[in-house]
């Protein structure tokens, strides 16, 4: 009794008896919340792993839809941002494992939807309950669940530090929390005390402590619908590059207390034609008032607008300030069209595929009007230089990222296809120096790129499967860059003595090579006249099957062909690429494996290149 009254007296002295009671009761409450939460959500959180990364995820439906981060499932490929990991495995809390496929993914917002398929009779999955991230407040308790550094079923806790974090340059404001998260937590759920998901744990500051960030779950909910419907986020084009917020000072300066300010209208754009002007203040959307007092509000406004259905119409209520006169009120009915694809920005790889010429060290991509405004690029028709590798011909030509490449050998290159056409024309002609014109901000620069043709004078016969070929484009481009002459003829018409190498392109369709007598005859002839023979995936089996002497050589092939290789008693090693004498084989499992195969082939054909 005495002890209790002492607590009460102290609490009264502090002036807040209610708080004191809460604090006195708190330790027990914390324990029970954490314990209960763990028990409840444990079966709903999964670990996701694939060939190059590890992360977490959470179950949305009993039949196997799972949400995670986009960066957890993406393939580390700069060329195609839509490319995803090839071998994604989901591990449930009870260690059951399932292969997964990607339904849709994006990197900003960093959300992916994947699906696993249960076998009949499998125990149904336990989905999470999704909360409402708009109702999250800074200071409320939160829990992160996931597999940090591969430590499965790991619960950490903390409080929400901020709900309006815009400092990371993300597309939407994100939640900041102090629940510790690490690599491997990515894609895992952030729970509130009720065990509802309020966010997707995504980023952390490595130089700080417990500065974690999560994508709000309401953003995830919108993306889930987009992914199910379109396989990706389908963004609607808003009337401006960037909306601006109207704070007190801006409100005073404009003479309009609140709203969303249109900072820039692209001349000739849909918005320009619809009648928007820079300086207009949007005060309502379909009759409902809107305002943005700070950047986070602007981002939320923008998000709501860009995720509306493409093709639908929006009625903007505007106020247009006029110098020395009453502001004018207007209404504009604006049809939302599909937005242009966004290029790379920061650590986001973007939506625009690049065309990368590895040997030249040059990558280019298309660039739209909006991207030019966002990244301060000149308005010249051309392709954007997005990759310049150090120490390559592209760098020696003085090219740099952000240049607009406008001409090759005097011919305009307004898009990547024209660019590729002209560049490849020059490469085929083995031009010593390829003249380029670039626009760097306001300067027009003439320069030239001098490729190093390692395979000049070499002829490579390329056999492409009739269907389902893989990496053909990559191999073709690589051979061309190295200066090799490609012979693309049916196997019956190729004379092995007249070429330096025989290249059999892989892919599922190349299984047919294994039963093709003409291919077998050509391989035997090539081996007889001591030519290099290279084959990818199932084609590798065709090669060793055709020529028994090759069974003594180390080789590799795609995983599904391993049994066949072993049945032939080939020296199958399973490595991504195998080179043994004049035989080069590769699995062709993913792009890095295909590139490695290409490199081995170029090295094998380069005079004294080893």
């Amino acid at each position: 009794m005495r002890a209790e009254s002492l607590v009460l007296v102290l609490a009264l002295a502090a002036g807040s008896p209610a708080l004191a009671e809460e604090l006195a009761a708190a330790p027990e409450a914390t324990e029970s919340i954490g314990e209960a939460l763990f028990k409840r959500v444990d079966p709903s959180v999964v670990m996701i792993s694939h060939e190059s990364a590890l992360g977490s995820g959470f179950i949305l439906t009993p039949d196997g839809y799972i949400m995670t981060n986009g960066h957890v499932v993406m393939a580390p490929d700069a060329e195609d941002p839509k490319d995803v990991a090839k071998r994604i495995t989901v591990t449930l809390y009870d260690d059951r494992k399932y292969p997964a496929r990607v339904i849709g993914h994006g990197l900003d917002p960093d959300v992916a939807l994947i699906k696993i398929d249960l076998d009949p009779g499998d125990e149904p999955l336990a989905p999470v309950t999704l909360g409402d991230s708009d109702a999250v407040h800074a200071g409320q308790r939160c829990f992160a669940f996931g597999a940090p550094l591969g430590l499965k079923r790991c619960l950490t806790g903390g409080i929400v530090s901020n709900v309006d974090r815009t400092d990371l340059g993300t597309f939407v404001p994100i939640i900041q929390m102090d629940a510790p998260i690490n690599h491997g937590n990515s894609g895992g759920p952030l729970f509130n005390e009720q065990g509802q998901v309020i966010g997707i744990n995504t980023y952390g500051f490595e130089q700080g402590q417990n500065l974690g960030f999560a994508v709000p779950i309401n953003v995830g909910k919108v993306l889930r619908e987009h992914y199910l419907k379109h396989g990706r986020i389908l963004r609607a084009a808003v009337p401006t590059v960037l909306f601006q917020h109207v704070d007190d000072v801006m409100g005073k300066a404009l003479g309009i207390p609140s709203g969303v300010l249109v900072g820039h209208v692209i001349p000739g754009s849909e918005a320009d034609r619809a009648g928007f002007l820079a300086g207009d203040v949007i005060v309502s959307l379909d009759g409902a008032p809107v305002s943005a007092h700070e950047l986070a509000d602007v981002q939320r406004f923008n998000w709501r607008l860009v995720t509306r259905e493409v093709g639908s119409s929006v009625t903007f209520g505007l106020v247009r300030p006029r110098a020395g006169a009453e502001a004018e009120a207007r209404e504009i009915v604006f049809q939302l069209r599909q937005d242009e694809r966004a290029p790379r920005s920061g650590n986001q790889v973007g939506e625009v595929p690049a065309r990368i010429y590895e040997t030249l060290g040059l990558g280019v991509q298309e660039v739209g009007a909006k991207a030019r405004l966002t990244f301060n690029l000149p308005d010249a028709p051309g392709v954007l230089v997005s990759v310049v590798q150090p120490g390559t011909s592209a760098q020696k030509a003085g090219l740099s990222q952000g240049d607009i490449l406008t001409r090759i050998e005097g011919v305009a290159t307004p898009d990547p296809d024209r660019f590729a056409e002209e560049l490849e024309k020059a490469l085929k002609g083995r031009k010593k120096a390829i003249r380029l014109e670039i626009q760097r901000q306001k300067q027009t620069i003439q320069t030239a790129m001098a490729p190093y043709y390692a395979l000049a004078g070499k002829k490579v016969a390329v056999l492409e499967p009739a269907a389902e070929a893989e990496w053909m484009e990559l191999l073709r481009r690589g051979m061309l860059e190295a200066g090799a002459e490609l012979v693309l003829l049916p196997p019956g018409e190729v004379k092995a003595a007249e070429v330096d190498a025989l290249l059999l392109v892989g892919g599922p369709g190349s299984v047919a090579f294994q039963e093709d007598a003409a291919v077998a005859a050509l391989v035997r002839e090539a081996v007889k006249v001591k030519k290099t023979v290279a084959a990818l995936g199932p084609a590798a089996v065709a090669v060793v099957k055709a020529e028994p002497s090759l069974l003594d050589k180390k080789m590799t092939t795609s995983e599904d062909q391993a049994d066949k290789a072993m049945a032939l008693q080939a020296k199958y090693t399973g490595k991504p690429v195998e080179r043994d004498g004049k035989l080069i084989t590769g699995t062709g499992f993913d792009k890095p494996a295909a590139k490695e195969f290409l490199k081995a082939l170029v090295r094998a054909l380069t005079p004294r290149g080893d």
Binding site: G263, A278, L373, K432, A433, Q446, A450
Partner: protein, 499 residues
Amino acid sequence: MPHRSLPWIPVLLLVAGCAASVPAAPPVKSLSQLPPVRPVAPVDGGRYLKAVAEATDRVAATLERHLVYVEVTVEAGAGSGGAHGGGRRGGPQQPQGPQQMGMTGVVLQADGLVLIPVPLPKGRVQDLKIWAGGKEYAAEVQKIDERLQMTLLKVQVPGSAFVPVPAAERAFPRRGEWLVSLVCGGKDVDFQVFPGLGMVRGKVSGLFDQIVMDGGSVGMGTVLADLDGRIVGITRVAQNGMMMVPQALFFPEVIQKLELGKKAVEVAEAAAEPEDDEEDTSLPGKGKPWLGITMDPINEAYAEASNLPKEGIWVRDVFGGSPAAKGGLKPSDLLVGVNQHPFTRSGPRALEQLGKFTNPKVGTEVTFDVLRDGKPLTLTCCYEKAPEMADLQADDLGIQVRELTESLFCMTPGVYQREGVLVTSVVNGSAASRQMGPGDVIVELDRKPVRDLKAFTAALEDLRRRKAEVVLVKVCRGNRTAYVALDLTLRLHGKGDKS
């Protein structure tokens, strides 16, 4: 590149094989075609070393009275930022302690003119002391030569301790010649002159011809003399403190470039005021000589592919009404020579040659050999004073602006807007702080169009008269527009009404 180094292998094998009297093979034939090396008479090592010691000592003894020890105290500054750009990085400047450096000086004139091989930072020299004949003298900066990267100092009351180096004419040192390097030590070594010995490895031509020395005792700031006791070179103190290969300027050329006769007694304001001439730059600035062009060396591969000389410099921009425009230069002209000197080097070294063969001074002429659409032309331009660019400080907004002239437009990266006023700096903590930045172009102030500085000033005056509390500014940021609202009640120092 293994395939490149491979052809050496058989040669080396055969050379090794010769000793074992393996029959001669073709590569040996080519070795035998080399001119025979003349046999050298046997040398008495002891006498040789004695002669070297005597020669080195003699040179040091002859020249030490012309060398002095210089100690400079420099206030650590914000770099070469100058008038604007101070607030660009954000955060207040942290003052650093002063830096002291000691170096060897060469006495050029008996009235106390001393050369040191480092450009002292303008306006930041706190203290300058010279020790000659064991005594301390006060000195001041007379001239900073940006081209040579050297400074002339002047001792106020020189006395008899300052013995000038005699004028000596001699040819550029040949490869293989041995030079004595001399360096003057400080107080802790009793201001002694220490000699060293080094060999000339070759010559590199550029803006100035440089003597390439072997390493050893040839460091930064040393003086090089030949074995007859004549000063032939001086090594500069690299500004970043790094020097890959010791290189020295040819001393007679340095003396010639200093033009001592013309500038015998010029007063010591050089340290505080930027030089009016001697600036090798086409950048417009205050009273600097300019031509009004921007240039860039031609890419070598491009030159080859286009059948153009590799040793060329593109003319990029020619500003309207500039001396270059008057002289007939046009964008995309290829400069292949200047003042009857064809360029013989490519890339940045062509630019060095351009600097070497021109003498940018207001009123002097420069003649360019030009290729225009493949046809040769000779064009002459006359350097004029660069147009002055007045900055306007708008304290109430917290920004400094400059009229966006054609040259400023061309030379400011990221600016696409041609008309308006350019923000050059933003005062931390002011109304514009974190709202605007250098590179923004103001196109509207208080809803009034701003095409030039005059319009900006008029709109600003109107704001001040009205005692406006907020103002709306429309800016071009890169290639898009944005609006900024400034709170004018947030004035720097509490009250900033300048009108």
